[in-house]
């Protein structure tokens, strides 16, 4: 293991609760009323979860799911993610606030980026706290006690403190026993802190309700602003790996009729194509990853509101959304319809004529006669000018038109 090798990695999963059915969707003025509908986790997010889970198992670290929506609806759904599909998520956060309702992708990305930042801040604060204790010359037992608490809150990796059988003792534990110096503890903590800045964000390709696929790239852009550092995104990822030595992400993504293979430093955001299949993590990797992982799962889903996030109220929810969904419109009325075995059509072209003082026509061959007065239909039928539309007529009319169109 080289000294530059990766340690733990925070992996964020962006996920969304979407209406379970496409019927009975409740909207008010174009805004989905999520709180009034049956919701499920967006189906494509499970592909993202698999991918995020793979990255975590390969590298170590922990997997944190972040979602925005009414907490009483979203919390139970996020709870399900803990056991999905292999190891599941370790922590889950729902950003919930009435003021966040009605957000478009811009406001959603802004809110999610604050959620990510807060998770980072909480984790960094834990590391800093132990670091300060060590630096202030606190007794090793006190450092040990605080580290144990933070470990149980899932905020320190096994490398610093662990109660996992089969893993070497954490550096703070060795420090408490006089087997490691303060310098070694400081170094380890500083490395962990640095690693916290090299996270991976994984999102599904798009959601089944909004269908935009914009949230992944926009969250990377929003987070770039929030953290004051440019964070790249790679959309439409079909394959990826985190290179242990360099700590870089190597990803393949679809791009028109090409595939691009990219090397990106972390942090980076990716959106996962549905066809992505996570690879198998070799046993040696898994063992190494365990060392750089955390205690495990924090089953209580955390809920943060706009104030917890320090959100600018003018940038969240409906207020922060540049787009507005206008009133819905119908797709358009049915066209002239002909049914095989039912519709009466003209057998040939008939010039314009008068009938009972009304003018009719001209009619082309296969013109529909259903709407003509019954008396007239009978007379035309008697003259052999009408017939019931059959399959041959359909093929002739439909495909005859194709040939004409193809010539133009």
């Amino acid at each position: 293991m080289s000294s530059e090798a990766r340690q733990d990695m925070l992996v964020f999963l962006l996920t969304k609760a979407v209406p379970a059915r496409t019927t009975r969707v409740v909207t008010v003025g174009g805004v989905l009323r999520r709180e009034e509908m049956d919701l499920v986790i967006n189906p494509l997010d499970f592909k993202a979860l698999q991918a995020a889970d793979y990255a975590k198992r390969y590298n170590g670290g922990k997997l944190v799911a972040i979602s925005m929506g009414p907490d009483f609806k979203v919390k139970p759904l996020l709870s399900e993610l803990y056991s999905h599909p292999i190891e599941g998520v370790d922590e889950a956060v729902v950003l919930s606030d009435r003021r966040m309702a009605g957000a478009d992708t811009w406001a959603t990305a802004y809110t999610l980026s604050l959620g990510i930042k807060k998770v980072l801040d909480v984790n960094k604060a834990a590391v800093d706290e132990v670091l300060e204790l060590v630096e202030s010359g606190a007794p090793p037992e006190k450092v040990l006690e605080r580290a144990r608490e933070l470990y149980h809150s899932n905020l320190l990796p096994n490398l610093i403190y662990t109660e996992k059988p089969g893993l070497p003792q954490g550096v703070v534990q060795r420090y408490a026993r006089g087997k490691a110096g303060a310098e070694e503890v400081r170094e380890a903590l500083e490395r962990v802190r640095k690693e916290l800045d090299r996270f991976l964000i994984v999102a599904g390709l798009k959601t089944s309700d909004g269908e935009t696929g914009s949230t992944g790239p926009q969250t990377a852009e929003a987070l770039s602003g929030v953290l004051g550092k440019k964070i790249p995104d790679i959309t439409h990822v079909t394959d990826f790996e985190v290179d242990v030595e360099s700590g870089n992400l190597i990803a393949e993504r679809k791009l028109g009729s090409y595939v691009q293979k990219l090397r990106a430093p972390l942090p980076c955001a990716i959106t996962i194509m549905p066809e992505h299949r996570p690879g198998v993590v070799p046993v040696v990797r898994r063992k190494r990853a365990a060392l750089f992982s955390y205690r495990g799962k924090v089953r209580e889903v955390r809920v943060w509101n706009a104030d917890d996030l320090g959100a600018d109220p003018s940038k969240i929810g409906l207020a922060g959304s540049p787009t507005i969904v206008g009133p819905g419109i119908d797709i358009g009325g049915p066209p002239v319809q002909k049914f095989v075995g039912r519709t009466k059509v003209f057998t040939q072209r008939v010039e314009a004529f008068e009938f009972n003082g009304q003018r009719y026509g001209p009619f082309e061959r296969f013109a529909k006669a259903d709407d003509l007065p019954e008396e007239l239909v009978r007379e035309l039928e008697a003259k052999g000018l009408l017939k019931t539309f059959d399959l041959r007529d359909l093929l002739e009319e439909v495909l005859g038109g194709v040939v004409v169109a193809a010539k133009h």
């Binding site: 496409t22 969707v25 909207t27 174009g30 478009d104 992708t105 811009w106 269908e211 935009t212 696929g213 914009s214 790239p217 926009q218 990377a220 852009e221 550092k229 440019k230 995104d233 790679i234 959309t235 439409h236 791009l255 028109g256 009729s257 595939v259 691009q260 990219l262 990106a264 430093p265 549905p274 066809e275 540049p322 787009t323 507005i324 969904v325 206008g326 009133p327 819905g328 419109i329 119908d330 797709i331 358009g332 049915p334 066209p335 319809q337 002909k338 049914f339 095989v340 075995g341 039912r342 399959l391 041959r392 359909l394 009319e397 439909v398 495909l399 038109g401 194709v402 040939v403 193809a406």
Partner: protein
């Protein structure tokens, strides 16, 4: 209430022209790009503005004239070796810089891997809205009734997109400019390419930012072109879950329906000399039937999460016609619906109906076509 309410007209001033981000591959504009130029033309003519093609890349050469040939009035291009490959950060920087300094009224992307990456990032950075996956663009006023009055935002773009809640939704970006959309392929007809068209061509100097080049392109390789050319086909024969049973409810081997549909497709291709392809509904693809493995793949999917197509003829076999399917094919010139259920929603939009068994329809149609 509203009659006594005061109407307040709002005009967002200082923004002009409809920009099209022009995607190119192998030295050519992509077809969807030429479609979006046509869409931009429609909108720009309504409001008396210009269509501006925006090109980013390296060694663009004569490509910079192409947007003009396809109907643009002006081209702004940025040609730089560091822009040889598409990369989200430098491309976002260049395009956002152009947008913030030149202030376009609208900016249109193609719904594609680039459009769905660059569009959202540029929209966020330039602090404006993005309507993704739009199928039409209409210029109209946006009215917002608030307690303080009836606000009329003049001349906005109604960005029409399929929406499950409201059938078709109009997305507006009333207060922010540019109005950014990504436009789904297959919804506008490209204007005929005309080399005599003239227009101004302007070179843009990039101003990159720190960290723009942190991502490195290791390799770019061409993917073998898909055998399935749904978007280009003049006739599409589509299969739905209805192929699993015949009219009497007896289970049928779905491979038989595929074989018959393919036979019909081959016959049409041969007889009429038109490209004919097999499509499928989402339901059939996600059923994940072993029998159809390799035959019915995702690239055949028609509908909201699949492809939007507008062939001359669309034959829907055993497809009930859920809204998500309809938005992917409703612009077909002639829709033929074959379904045992006379109340299937597909019949609401079909031009031709055949209420009956597709396992009868197919052999009969094949036989008739042979004799024609």
């Amino acid at each position: 209430m509203s009659s006594s309410q005061q109407s307040i007209e709002v005009r967002i001033e200082g923004y002009r022209d409809v920009w099209v981000y022009c995607e190119h591959e192998d030295g050519k504009l992509t077809r969807p790009t030429t479609e979006v130029i046509a869409g931009a033309r429609k909108v720009a003519d309504k409001v008396g503005m210009d269509v501006v093609g925006v090109l980013i890349g390296y060694n663009l050469g004569d490509l910079v004239k192409e947007p003009i040939y396809y109907g643009a009035d002006k081209v702004i291009y940025c040609d730089d070796p560091r822009l040889k490959d598409y990369q989200v950060l430098p491309y976002t920087t260049v395009l956002s810089d152009m947008v913030m300094r030149l202030k376009p009224w609208a900016l249109l992307f193609v719904t594609s891997e680039i459009g769905k990456d660059l569009g959202p990032r540029v929209a966020y950075r330039t602090n404006t809205g993005l309507a993704a996956d739009v199928i039409d663009l209409i210029v109209e006023d946006f009215v917002m009734n608030l307690p303080t009055g009836r606000y009329v935002y003049k001349d906005c773009i109604a960005q029409v997109r399929p929406d499950f809640a409201t059938r078709i939704a109009k997305i507006f970006t009333p207060k922010h400019r540019p109005q950014i959309s990504s436009v789904r392929p297959g919804n506008f007809t490209p204007l005929p390419r005309d080399e005599t068209r003239k227009g101004e061509i302007v070179r843009w100097e990039p101003r990159f930012e720190e960290d723009d080049f942190q991502v490195e392109v290791i390799e770019t390789r061409k993917v073998p072109k898909s055998e399935v050319k749904l978007e280009e086909a003049k006739v599409v024969i589509s299969l739905g879950l209805g192929i699993l049973r015949d009219a009497s409810g007896r289970p049928r081997d779905p491979r038989e329906a595929f074989r018959l549909a393919k036979e019909l497709a081959d016959l049409i291709r041969e007889k009429f000399g038109v490209e004919t392809e097999i499509g499928a509904s989402r339901a059939l693809i996600y059923a994940g039937l072993k029998e159809l493995e390799g035959l019915i793949t995702k690239e055949r999917q028609v509908g909201q999460t699949g492809k939007t197509i507008a062939p001359e003829v669309y034959i829907a076999l055993g497809i009930s016609g859920a809204l998500q399917h309809r938005v992917g094919m409703q612009r077909s010139k002639r829709i033929v619906a074959v379904n045992v259920d006379p109340n299937a929603p597909i019949f609401q939009i079909a031009h031709y109906g055949y209420v009956g068994d597709l396992y009868e329809f197919l052999p009969k149609a094949i036989e008739l076509l042979r004799s024609m």
